[in-house]
């Protein structure tokens, strides 16, 4: 009958078989990135703790994690955004603006700090919404838009607080954010980070929205035809990114007990590095949150260990750059090599048959 046509082709079974092998291989090459990065993290930690004095101590862990909080928080929404094939380079500037807003409000408006914190987070969301409108509403490339807002927001954050730095935040607050969980050396701030990571992880990997994100990252048009509201989803992603930036702004201000225009300058590069290191494809459509978290940790541990080992700050700069490049070149190289091997094996089979 008609449908037999699909099965008559004699060698198709064999083809399918080899196909299976190849796909497994491919998926290995790509899917294994998470595993690879986690393994890499483990190795680095191990090496550091044996070779670098003062590394494997509770106090150091506390410093390390504390330094990573902003990076980790920012990486979460960035992951989702990059997976949809967009990018948000304005995060660091939004953090800075959030920080100065907080300072200005604390300075001039007699509002309570609790309220101010909430307001900062909300204004962050607003800033993100501006990005979102430009990207989805006017249909502009997010790269260009967020490079624009990168400059705009940073400029505004200087405008807001001009030539002063606000620092007279209540000591119990500023101390609280750097405080470890009683009885441990883990900073209390790690808890909200993990919570948020969980939320983003679930959204990305176990909800319809997550599925939609991957779909639109790979092929926005097809996603649209499948009833995904591409524009609206992306818009809310940018809003989320902004809100998280606001949160980081609050944290940053309290942690360094100082709100100033240049807070978190240049952090966006580190965030992007961490996300890509975490195995998210800059083209969108591929990557996972676990990998990104591991990437963030790897980055932090590496920097901290090298610092403890008295490696020159400039060398650190080079390391960051190299890591970023390696994280994108390696997967390609691996996939390439695998493909070559398959082709050779394939040829062998052909000549044999």
């Amino acid at each position: 009958m008609a449908h037999d046509s699909l099965y008559t082709a004699p060698p198709s079974g064999a083809v399918a078989g080899r196909e299976r092998g190849r796909l497994a291989g491919l998926r290995g090459a790509l899917g294994s990135w998470d595993a690879a990065i986690v393994a890499g993290l483990a190795v680095v930690v191990l090496l550091a703790s044996v070779s670098v004095p003062n590394f494997a101590t509770g106090r150091n862990a506390q410093f390390l994690l504390l330094d990573l909080v902003p990076l980790a928080l920012l990486a979460l929404p960035m992951t989702l955004i990059v997976i949809t094939g967009e990018i948000d380079l304005s995060v660091a500037s939004m953090v800075g603006l959030g920080s100065t807003l907080m300072g200005q409000m604390w300075l001039s408006s007699g509002l309570s700090l609790e309220l101010i914190c909430v307001l900062v987070v909300l204004s962050g969301a607003l800033l993100g919404a501006v990005n979102g409108v430009f990207v989805t509403g006017f249909g502009l490339p997010s790269l260009a838009v967020t490079i624009g807002t990168l400059a705009l927001y940073r400029g505004l954050s200087f405008v807001v607080l001009g030539d002063q730095a606000v620092a007279d935040f209540p000591a119990d607050w500023t101390d609280a954010v750097v405080q470890p969980i009683p009885g441990t050396s883990i900073p209390v701030m790690v808890v909200p980070v993990l919570l948020l990571a969980l939320v983003f992880g679930v959204v990305l990997h176990a909800t319809p929205v997550g599925r939609a994100l991957y779909a639109m990252g790979n092929n926005g048009e097809a996603a649209t035809f499948a009833g995904v509201s591409v524009a609206r989803t992306k818009f809310w992603l940018f809003v989320a990114s902004g809100a998280v930036c606001g949160l980081v702004g609050v944290f940053w201000t309290l942690r360094y007990a100082s709100a100033r225009g240049d807070n978190a300058t240049g952090l966006e590069l580190t965030v992007v590095t961490a996300v890509l290191l975490g195995g998210v494809s800059i083209f969108g459509g591929r990557g996972g949150l676990l990998g990104v978290v591991a990437g963030v940790l790897l980055l932090g541990v590496l920097r901290n260990a090298l610092q403890l080992a008295d490696v020159d700050a400039n060398a650190l700069t080079i390391v960051t750059g190299t890591l970023l490049i390696a994280s994108v070149v390696l997967p390609h190289a691996v996939a390439d090599v695998r493909a070559r091997l398959h082709r050779r094996r394939q040829r062998a089979q052909l000549t044999a048959s």
């Binding site: 009958m1 008609a2 449908h3 037999d4 046509s5 699909l6 099965y7 008559t8 082709a9 004699p10 060698p11 198709s12 083809v15 399918a16 078989g17 080899r18 196909e19 299976r20 092998g21 190849r22 796909l23 491919l26 998926r27 679930v202 176990a206 909800t207 319809p208 997550g210 599925r211 939609a212 991957y214 779909a215 790979n218 092929n219 048009e221 097809a222 996603a223 649209t224 035809f225 499948a226 009833g227 995904v228 509201s229 459509g285 591929r286 493909a339 398959h342 082709r343 094996r345 394939q346 040829r347 052909l350």
Partner: protein, 507 residues
């Protein structure tokens, strides 16, 4: 003149011998033989995935064969890249147009070969004139200095053809060039091809439309699963014979639409308009009915479908589903209302090629499958398996990227995705474009089954036999307007083409 005779006498211009090519572990070509004779049009047919396009890419120099010999005029031919193929006089018209939207039409035609002035500067004026001359030869009017962005698919295809003509090639390869062309345009294209042959060039013509194949070509080579099956003079062949060789067995009659009891109206379109695209389109489709939307490519049929489904906003008019007005511009609401659209362009609109079969199959159902906003992999897999098995999708694993499937199977995945939403209305645009004969008839059988189950089906098709075979009613569009409605017994080649080409507009 008798091309056959000449073909047999003259030594072959191009010979491909035992060409093999595999991608990763998939063998696309397994020992293909092909002889192109000067002054002869040679047809290459085979199911999708038979390796035709791979062969074209090899001739174009885009792929290098793993093994095998190519000779041109008896001299061994080595193609290190598309540039080599060109200098060897091989011109290729690809299945889907490959233009530069930002560059002008003329530049698209002469990219890399622009006429030069002193100091090797590009002579734009001369370039445009040359383009004009080419278009005159094709008997079409396209402004050479306009950017390619915004050209209709047909026009794009014509630019491609002009490009191929521009270096008067000794070997012209056409990979389903007619898919997007109207009958008139096809005739002109064939005219050009014949004139090339008369000048001693060889043409390799790839198509699923047998009428065209037998109309144009003197020889015909059949491929199956990447292997060479046969090469004969078309004069000695019949369609059935060719089809048998392609699929390796007999195929039942192609268009089995059974009559189904008509139910009440499900889809109703009133005065739908979109500026510059189509205007004042009104019709309705009842449950159990297959209504075909016919017309030349560019008549605005797909655009109507897009507007109904909410991909594009319409400027005026309304769409009613079972009497209820459908809010404009929201595919999500359309789906919720029980509508499904199987789009024209499978790879771009129908599927997310990088994602797995499973993800694609459940993409439109992801909300329905989630509990408390959470999805369980199990539920998805079950759903996907149910529909892929029901539609007999041939795939190694559900987790395999849909890109690894053959065209026919990809189309089935698209159908699976939409049938999974259990729609009341199915809009299906070019249901069998670029699908092999076997799957074609399967799709048709499925459509009439669905109609039998009471779905309202709106089918857009450029293949007249398909329209006539499947449709209960035929709506004909011409230049963005609905010009004619034909009942099943009224509709035949002449009446439809008559209306489609605009003569019927007055009637």
């Amino acid at each position: 003149m008798s091309p056959d005779a000449r073909g047999t006498k003259a030594p072959p211009l191009l010979v491909l011998d035992d060409i093999r090519k595999s991608f990763g572990a998939v063998a696309a070509l397994r020992g293909v033989h092909l002889e192109l004779h000067p002054g002869e049009a040679h047809a290459l047919v085979g199911e999708n995935g038979a390796g035709k396009s791979t062969l074209v890419k090899i001739l174009a120099g885009a792929h290098a064969p793993d093994s095998g010999r190519m000779t041109l005029d008896g001299h061994p031919l080595l193609l290190r890249g598309p540039a080599d193929a060109r200098s060897a006089g091989i011109a290729v018209i690809y299945q889907e147009p490959t233009l530069f939207p930002d560059l002008t039409v003329a530049e698209n035609i002469f990219m890399g070969r622009q006429p030069l002035r002193s100091f090797r500067r590009i002579d734009t004026r001369e370039m445009n004139r040359a383009a004009e001359r080419l278009f005159d030869r094709l008997g079409v009017r396209i402004d050479p200095s306009r950017p390619a962005r915004g050209l209709s698919i047909a026009d794009q295809q014509l630019v491609e053809i002009a490009k191929a003509l521009s270096f008067d090639a000794r070997i012209l390869v056409m990979d389903e060039p007619t898919a997007a062309l109207s009958g008139v345009e096809v005739e002109r294209l064939f005219g050009v091809a014949r004139s090339l042959c008369e000048r001693g060039a060889a043409v390799l013509f790839i198509s699923h439309r047998f009428d065209e194949v037998f109309d144009l070509c003197q020889r015909l080579t059949v491929l199956r699963d990447g292997a060479w099956v046969s090469s004969d003079r078309t004069a000695d062949l019949t369609v059935d014979e060719v089809v048998r060789r392609m699929v390796g067995r007999d195929v039942a009659s192609l268009y089995p639409k059974q009559d189904a009891p008509l139910r009440d109206t499900l889809l109703e379109v009133r005065g739908l308009s979109r500026a510059g695209v189509f205007s004042d389109v009104s019709f309705s489709v009842r449950g159990g009915e297959i209504v075909a939307l016919a017309g030349l490519v560019g008549a605005g049929r797909s655009e109507v479908a897009r507007a109904i489904f909410g991909i594009d906003r319409h400027d005026a008019g309304e769409v009613r589903v079972a009497g209820r007005v459908l809010p404009a511009g929201s595919p999500r609401k359309a789906i919720a209302a029980g509508m499904a659209l199987v789009p024209e362009d499978r790879r771009q609109q129908g599927l997310v090629m990088e994602l797995s079969v499973e993800r694609n199959a459940t993409l439109a159902r992801r909300r329905a499958l989630s509990r408390l906003g959470l999805l369980s992999g199990g539920a998805e897999r079950a759903e996907a398996r149910q529909w892929t098995t029901r539609l007999q999708v041939k795939t190694s694993r559900l987790a395999a990227p849909v890109a690894t499937l053959s065209g026919g199977n990809q189309q089935k995945v698209v159908l699976a995705k939409w049938l999974a939403t259990r729609p009341r209305i199915l809009i299906i645009d070019e249901p069998t474009r670029g699908i092999d004969v076997g799957t074609k008839s399967e799709v048709h059988r499925l459509l009439s089954e669905l109609a039998g189950e009471g779905l309202a089906i709106l089918m857009i098709s450029s293949e007249l036999p398909e329209v006539l075979g499947m449709a209960d009613r035929v709506l004909v569009m011409h230049e963005g307007r609905l010009v004619r409605e034909l009942s099943r017994d009224e509709a035949d080649e002449t009446s439809v083409m008559f209306a489609a080409t605009g003569q019927g507009a007055t009637a």
